[in-house]
Amino acid sequence: MAAVVSSGVERDPAVPGRGDTPPAVEVRGVTKSFGELIAVNDISFEVAQGEIFAFLGPNGAGKSTTISILCTLARPTSGSATVGGYDVVTEARHVRRHIGLVFQEQTLDDQLTAEENLRFHAVLYGVPSSQVDGRISRVMELVALSDRRRDLVSTYSGGMARRLEIARGMLHTPRVLFLDEPTVGLDPQTRALIWEDIHRLRHEEGVTIFLTTHYMDEAENAARIAIIDHGEIIALDTPDALKGSVGSDTITLETADDDGALTALRVAGYRVRRAENGLTVYVEDEEAAVGPLVATAGVPVHTVRVHRPTLDDVFLHYTGREIRDQHGEGGVPMFARAHGAHRR
């Protein structure tokens, strides 16, 4: 299925750099196969500058392979891609200078302090000596770890280490920060902290953020989401538009007199259907609709249940499966293995 590539930028007023600026990431017909296995199949999309863009899909869907290609760690079998205006194959070195990378696995030296890790990174990426200290202070501030600057990384918790890695990824002022499953394996509180960090980075440093996740609730943070399954992008839009595409909000009412309420609501122009025990009303926006609805019903209302489509519904709608139970699928372990071999 060909992906619908929407520009998306206009829909998110929070995205800076909209308009005529070139995309931060541009992918055209990229395919990556490992022998017989097609990990990524002819995908195309663009990410605008300053956007938070999420790749959502189950393990083995091709998310990490796509990130590897964009970060020049893997070559596409066919197709082309640019990051920060540079071609990922022919200008790999330039791409590497202008991206920040946070992998799923930790890549810190825990025998060094946070500051030493950052200093090492600064030198690797050619940050001028005069700017190193300033940038270290700045990124440590961005992830709220300034007071732990001189501590050995071995004393850091998993969440702190991840935040330090995000800080390190930002040290050389990359144009695009790639986060591969940034909160996997972390507790909800830490995940929330990391998301605060990510929003702060985007806001204060203006960096474009490209992340992969298989958490639905996490993808909601993105301006746009690409749903990827079996190596193909099956939907790409803003979270709201994606949810809108699978149906509208519904409100279920249980009243003292369902027949009376049904008539009253129909007269008022609502789309109403009789449900098992009560009435189901289709509305544009459940939050705004509840008050007027109860008033219009004109009879005592016992219960109100609202349902807004979630990304789970979206995923189910497009793939016919829940994102959570992906295990036991023929292709999945093979993807994982092919990918694992590549990463080692």
Partner: protein, 291 residues
């Protein structure tokens, strides 16, 4: 050289860093990799200690034990003979350990941080090489403290000579170690490598016994060992600073021979350098294949 002008970057609130590249930037990376090696060495005191214990065991237990068997020849003891070999051993082991820490870096992910950076692989190997050489020479210098205990006299010149030779030895061993480490993907293999490679290399290098008078097949193997050519000059400079009788000199020979031809010192050093250069190229290649 600076990076080419960037495309439009509206929305970037922070002024982007102008990253430097080219020879100076690569040199900075060499310095940084070197510094990290030193920090890690100084921070793991257990490593310094364990690096001392084994050679000390060899020196005192093997040295004095064998002295009884070998006896004193021309006023010279076996433990005096074995001292240079034991110092060399601690240098070699420290260098090798430093290089093989790449296996750890791989396991804990830090290797990835280095390999994805926009720097040359040779720069990383060079940094690792200098780092390994420095810590190994430091370890070797600590071993100098033991010299008076076994009756070896130290002069200022000798100390300088020893440090230079330790550095050369360590450079060769670090590049060799990086090459080996680039081929090891599992931590479990590390112990195997240490036992299957390092110990035989040390035993077949002349560090612990004189190379003359060996059976031909064993003599042949020792001549293939790069360490043989690093340890012989090391022992030569130490022995030259001692007041040895002619009998002792003949008995505890320091020269390496090829089919009866004694190799000059400069050739031995050249051989070590050549090995170092070959291992360097192999190490860079090994790391390039990794990612």
């Amino acid at each position: 050289m600076t990076v080419a002008a960037s495309p439009a970057r509206a929305g970037m609130v922070t002024t982007p860093v102008r990253q430097s590249s080219g020879a100076v930037a690569e040199l900075r990376v060499v310095g940084m990799v070197w510094e990290r090696e030193l920090i890690r060495y100084v921070r793991t005191r257990t490593r310094i200690l364990s690096g001392l214990i084994q050679p000390v065991l060899f020196l005192f237990v093997l040295g004095y034990g064998m002295s009884g068997l070998v006896g004193t020849v021309g006023g010279f003891n076996f433990h005096e003979f074995v001292y240079p070999g034991v110092v060399a051993m601690s240098v070699v082991m420290t260098a090798m350990f430093s290089a093989l820490s790449i296996v750890w870096d791989r396991e804990f992910g830090f290797l990835r941080e280095m390999l994805i950076a926009p720097v040359q692989r040779s720069t990383l190997v060079l940094g690792k090489m200098f780092g390994g050489a420095t810590v190994a020479a430091m370890q070797g210098t600590i071993m100098l403290v033991l010299a008076p205990l076994v009756g070896i006299e130290l002069t200022a010149l000798l100390v300088v000579q020893m440090i230079c030779l330790e550095l050369l030895m360590a450079v060769a061993m670090t590049t060799f170690g990086v090459f080996v480490a680039s081929r090891i993907s599992k931590m479990e293999s590390f112990q195997v490598v240490m036992q299957m490679l390092l110990l035989p290399m040390l035993f077949l290098s002349g560090a612990l016994f004189p190379l003359n008078g060996l059976p031909p097949w064993l003599a042949f193997i020792t001549r293939l060992n790069p360490l043989t050519y690093a340890i012989a000059p090391f022992r030569q400079v130490i022995f030259e600073a001692q007041h040895m009788s002619a009998v002792a000199k003949r008995h505890f020979s320091t020269t390496v021979t090829w089919f009866g031809w004694p190799l000059p010192t400069w050739l031995e050093l050249l051989i070590v350098l050549c090995f170092a250069a070959i291992f360097f190229v192999l190490a860079v290649r090994g790391l390039s294949k990794t990612e």
